[in-house]
């Protein structure tokens, strides 16, 4: 960094005016007896983005906080942050090279699709059973392990489609069995504190599964072969529009994406379509959503909520397993692999609003972007990679402080 003082002064400026906005704007809305639910978040955003220039008019006029007010100031905050970063570090690769940024953004969105898929499973479980599963990362790991063993060890010629389906079946079965054996007491009040019981028992499952896999397959990292490899092509002759090698695609000479990740994202989007079809068009999907809305009313309408609990938990675990199954070809795989993705999924569902399915997916895309730019743009690359889990936690802390309901959450 050439001029770090710019950056830190900008951050200080944003924090101070954000805090002023949080207090003053809320007070103004309170004094005029208006809706204060959005006032704090909007006050922070307007204060951080514009300082006193936006805060004073907002304080005086107190307009109705429509969706535009809730979104635009945050874009302003992002713009101010980016400008401060660019001024303070003009030689950074993110500032000098537009193609690098485009590449990072594309990769962030691609990996974000898969994060979203995994978080969707957690959101599904939360919306139906009302618990947060701490074993989500282990299902992700098991999904990947099953695909590895299917394609490399048990049935080397089986092909990835069969392996992915088998991984889904295995993770669904483990999830459903666990739900039947260990989660049933929380439905009928047989445990005094169901939330804490659920945290501890899913945590115990995570511990058990992680070491079970380590005992069965060993502690060495494994890596599956890519699901498919591209032929080498160049369009046109010099490859200025599209150039592919076996493991990489380059668009317009700027955006570079590795094939395994792209394959994973494509499968995820397909699976997402299938899930939406399942949730909105089939009886089971409608039943699940009915239970999420109103358990008693669903029971009156002839849906057995207990069976739906089992399906929801199994399905949620299956989504995590699926995310692992498509990503095992992109990363090397360990029994401990699940830890960071699980944390990430927690961050995403809090960001998107606990229990909101669209929120989980959009939160996944956002976190993918934040992580990709965070890793790409930090001035010290080794440190940037080491702090990978920290970006999500910063997001989590900010969300919990500013808007605990998340982007799409209902009021808690």
């Amino acid at each position: 960094m050439d001029h770090p003082q710019f950056f830190f002064m900008a951050i200080l400026w944003m924090v101070i005016w954000g805090a002023v906005g949080a207090v003053m704007i809320r007070r103004a809305y309170f004094a005029r007896d208006l809706d204060v639910t959005q006032a704090r978040a909007v006050g922070v955003a307007v204060g951080a983005a514009t300082g006193p220039f936006g805060l004073i008019p907002l304080y005086l006029k107190t307009p109705e906080l429509t969706r535009r007010w809730r979104v635009l100031p945050w874009l302003g905050v992002a713009a101010v942050f980016t400008a401060a970063f660019a001024l303070s570090d003009p030689d950074n690769v993110c500032v000098t090279s537009g193609s690098f940024v485009a590449s990072q953004v594309t990769n962030g969105l691609i990996i974000g699709t898969i994060y979203g898929l995994m978080a969707l499973g957690l959101a599904l479980i939360f919306s139906i059973i009302g618990i947060v599963s701490f074993s989500h990362g282990e299902f992700y790991m098991i999904g990947g392990m099953v695909v590895y063993y299917m394609t490399e060890v048990w049935l080397p010629g089986a092909g990835p489609v069969l392996a992915v389906i088998f991984a889904c079946v295995v993770t669904f079965m483990i999830g459903a069995l666990f739900e039947r054996a260990f989660l049933t007491p929380i439905y009928d009040g047989r445990v005094e504190r169901p939330n804490e019981y659920a945290i501890l028992v899913t945590f115990g499952l995570a511990f058990f599964l992680q070491y079970l896999v380590q005992g069965l397959s060993g502690a060495n990292p494994v890596k599956a072969r890519p699901f498919f490899e591209l032929p080498k092509t160049n369009i046109p002759e010099d490859g200025s529009i599209l150039a592919t090698t076996r493991s990489n695609i380059t668009l317009f000479d700027t955006i570079s994406v590795s094939t395994p990740r792209l394959t994973a994202a494509v499968i995820s989007v397909l699976m997402l379509g299938l899930l939406i079809w399942f949730l909105y068009k089939t009886w089971w999907g409608k039943g699940l959503r009915a239970v999420a809305q109103d358990r008693q009313a669903a029971a009156v309408a002839g849906i057995n909520p207990k069976v739906m609990n089992m399906v929801a938990f199994g399905l949620g675990c299956m989504l995590a397993g699926l995310a692992g199954a498509v990503l095992v070809q992109a990363f090397s795989w360990l029994p401990q692999t699940g830890m960071i993705p699980a944390l990430r999924a927690f961050v995403i569902i809090v960001l998107g609003g606990l229990g909101s399915l669209p929120g989980a997916f959009i939160g996944g895309l956002l976190l993918g972007l934040i992580e990709a730019t965070g890793v790409g743009c930090m001035p010290d690359p080794t440190r940037a990679a080491a702090y990978l889990p920290a970006y999500g936690m910063i997001v989590l802390t900010l969300v919990l402080l500013l808007k605990p309901t998340g982007l799409f959450g209902k009021k808690i």
Binding site: I131, V132, F134, A181, F182, P185, V191, E192, R193, N195, E196, Y197, I199, L200, V201, F203, G204, L205, F207, F208, L209, Q210, Y211, L212, Q214, G215, A219, M339, I340, L343, F346, V347, V350, T382, R383, A386, Y387, L388, P389, A390, G392, M393, L396, T397, L400, P404
Partner: protein, 398 residues
Amino acid sequence: MIRHIPNGAGLAALATLLVFPLAYGGANYDFVMHLWITAFFYAILASSWALLAGYGGQFSFGHMAFMALGAYGAGLLDNYVVVTGQPTRTCLEIGLFGNWVVFIAPTGVSKVQSCLEMAQAAWPADATVSRFPLILGIIFGAAIGGGAGWLIGTLVLRLRAAYLALFTVGFSEILRAAISAEIWLTRGQAGLPLSPIFPDGVTLFGTYFPATAKLPAYYVMLALFLGTLLLLTWIAQSRIGLFLRSLREDEDAAEALGVDTVRYKRVVFVLTAMIAAAAGAVQGHYVGLITPNTIVLLQMSLVIAMAVIGGLENVVAAAIGAILISFALEFLRTDFFLFGTRIDMTTWRLVFFGLLLMLTLRFLRNGVIHGALMWIDRRGVGAETVAKRRAGQTEGAE
């Protein structure tokens, strides 16, 4: 008669622990001593976590992070702060009572001549350089842990159950990432070396024990363990314990009845964090090296498993569970062969404890040790029978 068994057994166990290092004479003396010290360490962590989670209802997964903060706090003072008899004039230093407290700039793993070494070259031969007092380092570590506990306790005031657990998992992950990445200060994965608890050895009862002897460390850890247990049991049955339990049962109702929930949440976080940090600092000095791997979730899982299997709502039961499990973990280490394949017990024992944790939660919600104590307390009669008898008595009285 049967009701007095736990108290008698407790006294006997205490007496045994006190004389054990003097009486035991096996060939594996050092190994057994090491097991006991580790067991005490885990018992301190498990019982303080039981107060936080079982009494206060705050299911924090950041206990090992507090422990590591204490250890690193003590370790940094131990490595980068020395007391000298001469001013260096080049380092950052403070004069105190004719001595100088010198702060050496951290160098990480690289070998750079520090300002102290340069100054030493010019000093007279009788100039003294000694380490920063160890007890102050441990107190400093505990204070850092308490400060972090206050911070976390404040940040999570509004968070409940799952949010709190998530936040603390994230906190410990960030701390681990920071300790691994900031090599200039913490030496990263190479680990930060710490001096032994008694760097020059110690003379007890007329016998000299060198710095590597296990017996002094055993008594230090035992004292910390017993002190913790006394403090925790006193708190658990005092007014604070009552407030904490009300916090656990229903926060809103407790607040409506006039319990200062904000204050007691902070109190329980600061207190348990300080205990964990002190234990970490002492353990760090005993082992002589502290690495970021102590914060991995496995260690936290072990502490949770110990507290849950012992009994979450009883600090003594949690401590007993921790001692039993840390011994069991050690004795289950031996590999064996089953159908011609080698069973790697270092992994499979953890599978076993994971399963035990789940089954205890599912079927013995009060934990194994606490459940057994309650059973003895009821004179061997089932809980339902006692409830029925009580119901019968009140009916008769009316």
